[in-house]
Structures are given as structure tokens and as C-alpha cells.
């Protein structure tokens, strides 16, 4: 059986994060000129929150690496040859 230690705290933090995303969403949606059904706002908030988490992961990893190189926008798969 998996340990549930800390699960409540984690759920609460995830709830806070989603709520924060949900609260700011109407402003973001309006600025982006999107038309979002009111019934779909919560689902959209969940998806945006997941993307925020992905960005946070990268931010942490890149800071750790102190990587100041140019962004690799031009993708050339011949790099290995």
C-alpha cells in the first residue's frame, strides 16, 4: 500500500494553484481574444495549470544548469553526425 503521507498538503497546494489559475483566467482569455464557454473555464484552467507546471520544471532545471546559451529555435537534427 502506498504511503499517503503529505498527500493532503499536496492536494491543497494543487487546489490553490488551480484556483489561482482559474481566478486569473478570464483576464488572460480576454487579452488573448479567445471565446471560452463558461462551462469549460474550469477544464481550461486545469490544462493551463498543467502547462504552468511544465514551465516551472524547465525553469528549475535551466537555472540549476546555469545555462545561458542561445535558445535552440533552429532545430537541425544533423547535430550528431
Amino acid at each position: 500500500m502506498r504511503s499517503t503521507e503529505g498527500a493532503g498538503e499536496k492536494m491543497s497546494s494543487e487546489y490553490d494553484e488551480r484556483k489561482s489559475t482559474f481566478d486569473e483566467l478570464p483576464t488572460l482569455v480576454r487579452r488573448a481574444n479567445l471565446v471560452v464557454d463558461e462551462n469549460e473555464l474550469e477544464s481550461l484552467a486545469r490544462r493551463v495549470s498543467i502547462l504552468h507546471k511544465s514551465a516551472d520544471k524547465l525553469s528549475t532545471a535551466l537555472i540549476t544548469d546555469e545555462d545561458e546559451r542561445e535558445p535552440g529555435i533552429t532545430f537541425d537534427p544533423r547535430w550528431h553526425r
Binding site: L34, V36, L44, A55, K57, L58, A61, H80
Partner: protein
């Protein structure tokens, strides 16, 4: 029919070239299979009965006249409905594309037609290739299950013998995952190896076009037909195309395979683990050196992949997601709207991550010729479920079908899925990944495996 068992491009081309069988017979057989079974399978969005018949008669005459074009001449194929075919709509599974009409062939379709292949129809895709279940298509091994996606229609159509080869696109596993759960071979080439001109994009720096086939040998024949530089695709590589089908026979002695069953990216089912163990034993018997390696792909690759995918998709759909949001299916709409809200800085950070991970993965290929792991962590999932249980934990289907495959898209690495077993009569597949432009090694390793195993010969029984 004279040869009811013809099931591969290799078998068909041999019989066609010596005029033992006619393209008309082959095409009629495929159209008959579609007519009998597609009501259940729902893998096709359009069937070219008349056009395919006409092309088959023309191919028959050309072959009789001594103008045999090569191994795809007279061979029936199916095309995912994100590829343009001149004179027909490319609907990409979406109401948004209603009224579209392609005014020229996509590059791959052009090359297939030039090689004499006969297009029997267009196959179902998940809307704009954004998802991994391909409704309404079903899995031919169990009609209560999905064929995965987004190229689910192409994989299901091939497994059901509606064609002898088909095409897909792969942005996060959309060729390899359907290949795995439908029991066929699926090849995602190196980024830029195969042109995407005339293919509806999902995410231009992650998208790859490639073939489905019954065998690695067939995949080699199709790849060498469709690969090669195309000035019409600005990501196309100016690289010569090897004759892959001539490089399959070397044995595996001296070849080094690095094994990471889950690529360090989450759990896999015990039966997938066991199938991989059997495959490892086979490769060792074939003379390969097989070593366990540390997780080659860090999970930040998946985080960066998801940001790039959603940003680029939102950019491509930036006008229609605002002008006609209700024409999108709910899941696609939410995906694109969420992508529209990603800050540019996050997208750039994701590209920066890609830049740094490229050099890390290159070190792995200094020691190993290819990597081996699972394609997907389980079997095909039921059509009415959005989550699957994997090793006791519930997971979203999209995540389950993509997490072991998407790193190859992120890094542009060639990768192939090959049938390697069954669980409760449902197919399983393994995935091989190689360094850029080394499709030849993937095909040779897969071909050697298929020479001594028979998983790829099993066929689903349709009512």
C-alpha cells in the same frame, strides 16, 4: 482469388513483378475487405473504389507491357486524412476543414503515386492529430477498444488487410503507439528525412511523417520511396536516401543495444516487461550485445515537449480557434485555447531545453547503436475509458500512449515500433531508437527480429 494469403508489400511485389498476380486482383481484395469490415472498424473516411480500380487496371497494363516501376507498383496503400490528395478534401477529422479541397498532392502522395502505388482510401485521424484515440475508429483485435492515435485509422486499416501499407504522422508517438496496439510496424523517421509538404501540421518542429507496414522489410521499401530532400518543405534534409531494403540482411553480431524498458519515464505493465525480456533474449541469441542503460530521457524532455506542442499548435490554429471555436471538438478546443495562453518565454525555455538535451543524448549513441524499450506501457484501452490502470496506478490515456515515445519527437531521433507479443490476444510492441539519420540500423535490427519470430504474422479475426 489466386493468392488469398498475399499480406505484405514484399510478397505482393514479387508476385506482381513476375505477373503471377494482377494489381486488379490485389486492389479488389482490399476494397472487398473494406466493404465487408469497415462498418465495424470505421477506419476509413473515404474509399476510392472507382479511382483505385482504374489505377489498378493502368498498373496491370504497364506491368504487362514491361514497364514495371518497382516494388510498390500495383500495391494498395491507404493515406491518413491529414495528407493532401489532389481533387479531394483533407478534413483532418475536423468540421473546421469543411469545404476544403486539395489542389495538389502532398509530397509523399506524389512519390507513392510515381512509384505506382494505388491509393485505396483515406483513413481516420484524431481531430487535427491532437489526440490518441482516433474516434470513431476501432481496434481490429478487439472492437471494444480504440486503435490509439492519432494515426489510428491507418494502423487499424493495415492490420485488417484493407491495404498493404499506409501512412501516418507522429508528433508524440502517433505512428508508433497505433503500430504497437494494432500489431504492425510503425516507423517515425529522423526529423526532416521525409517531406511534410501538403500535410496538415500539428506542431511543425515535432511533426514527422512516416509509414506503417506489416514488416520491417516493407517499411524499408516504403521509406526509400517517400524519403529524400524536398525543396517544398523547409525542414527537409539535403541527405541522400539509402536503399534501406538492401541493408537488412547483415546479422547483429557486434551490435550494441542499450535497454531502458521504460526509458525512465514511468511505469509499464508486467506483461510488457515480460515481452521485452523475451525480445532481449532473442537479440542476444542473434549475437547482439544487450546492456541495461540508465534512463536516457529526463522527464523535463516531456515537459518541454508539451509546451512546444501546445504553443505551435495554437499558433497554427490562431485564427480559427478564435473565429470558429465551436467547430472544434471539445478536447481539441481546450488544448488549443490552453496553448494560446503559453507565454513566449515558456516556449523559448522549452526550445532551450531541447538544445541542451541534444548533446546529452548524443553521448548515449557513442556507446550504443540503438536503444530498446516499450512503445506504450500497456495494451489498447477500451473506447469508453479516458484513464487506464498501469501497474496499479490510473493514468490519462493520452499520457499513457505518448510518454515513452515523445522524447524521440523532441530530439528528432528515428524510432520504430515492432510487434513483440500478445496479452489477452491484444498486440504488444517494442520501440527502438537510433541516432539521427540511422533508420537503416533500426530496420536491420527489426528485420532480424522478425526473421526469427512470428508475432507480425498473426492476423485479427473480423466477423
Amino acid at each position: 482469388m489466386t493468392h488469398p494469403e498475399v499480406a505484405s508489400v514484399t510478397e505482393a511485389s514479387s508476385l506482381l513483378s513476375e505477373r503471377t498476380i494482377s494489381p486488379v486482383e490485389l486492389v479488389e481484395r482490399c476494397l472487398s475487405r473494406i466493404s465487408s469490415h469497415d462498418e465495424q472498424l470505421q477506419a476509413m473516411v473515404r474509399v476510392f473504389d472507382e479511382e483505385a480500380g482504374e489505377s489498378a487496371r493502368r498498373a496491370e497494363k504497364e506491368i504487362s507491357d514491361g514497364s514495371y516501376r518497382g516494388p510498390l507498383h500495383g500495391v494498395p496503400v491507404a493515406i491518413k486524412d491529414v495528407y493532401d490528395i489532389e481533387g479531394y478534401p483533407t478534413l483532418a477529422g475536423s468540421e473546421v476543414r469543411r469545404g476544403h479541397l486539395a489542389n495538389r498532392d502532398s509530397e509523399i502522395v506524389l512519390r507513392l503515386k510515381s512509384a505506382g502505388a494505388i491509393i485505396v482510401g483515406k483513413t481516420v485521424t484524431h481531430e487535427f492529430a491532437t489526440g490518441m484515440t482516433s474516434p470513431p475508429a476501432r481496434n481490429p483485435w478487439d472492437l471494444t477498444r480504440n486503435p490509439s492515435g492519432s494515426s489510428g485509422g491507418s494502423a487499424a486499416a493495415l492490420a485488417a488487410d484493407f491495404c498493404l501499407g499506409s501512412t501516418g504522422t507522429d508528433t508524440a508517438g502517433s505512428i508508433r503507439a497505433p503500430a504497437s496496439v494494432n500489431g504492425v510496424v510503425g516507423l517515425k523517421p529522423t526529423f526532416g528525412r521525409v517531406s511534410k509538404r501538403g500535410v496538415v501540421p500539428l506542431s511543425w518542429s515535432l511533426d514527422h511523417a512516416g509509414p506503417f507496414a506489416k514488416t520491417a522489410q516493407d517499411a524499408a521499401l516504403i521509406l526509400e520511396t517517400i524519403a529524400g530532400y524536398d525543396p517544398g518543405d523547409n525542414s527537409s534534409l539535403r541527405e541522400p536516401t539509402p536503399r534501406y531494403s538492401q541493408q537488412l540482411e547483415g546479422d547483429l553480431r557486434g551490435l550494441k543495444i542499450g535497454v531502458s524498458k521504460d526509458f525512465g519515464l514511468g511505469k509499464i505493465e508486467h506483461f510488457v516487461d515480460q515481452a521485452l525480456d523475451r525480445a532481449i533474449r532473442t537479440f542476444k541469441d542473434l549475437g547482439a550485445q544487450v546492456d541495461e542503460v540508465d534512463a536516457p530521457f529526463p522527464d523535463i524532455a516531456l515537459a518541454a515537449h508539451s509546451l512546444i506542442l501546445a504553443s505551435e499548435a495554437a499558433a497554427y490554429h490562431r485564427e480559427t480557434i478564435r473565429s470558429m471555436p465551436s467547430r472544434y471538438q471539445r478536447g481539441t478546443r481546450l488544448f488549443l485555447q490552453a496553448g494560446s495562453l503559453i507565454p513566449a518565454t515558456d516556449y523559448l525555455m522549452a526550445q532551450q531545453t531541447r538544445h541542451s538535451l541534444r548533446s546529452e543524448i548524443s553521448k548515449v549513441f557513442e556507446d550504443y547503436d540503438c536503444l530498446l524499450g516499450a512503445t506504450v506501457p500497456t495494451v489498447a484501452s477500451p473506447v469508453d475509458k479516458s484513464k487506464v490502470s498501469i501497474a496499479g496506478e490510473w493514468e490519462d490515456i493520452t499520457s499513457a500512449y505518448t510518454r515513452l515515445a515523445a522524447s524521440s519527437n523532441f530530439l528528432g531521433l528515428p524510432s520504430i515500433s515492432v510487434p513483440c507479443g500478445f496479452e489477452s490476444s491484444l498486440p504488444l510492441g517494442f520501440q527502438l531508437v537510433a541516432k539521427p539519420l540511422d533508420e537503416a540500423t533500426l530496420l536491420r535490427v527489426a528485420h532480424n527480429f522478425q526473421e526469427v519470430t512470428d508475432y507480425h504474422l498473426a492476423r485479427p479475426q473480423l466477423g
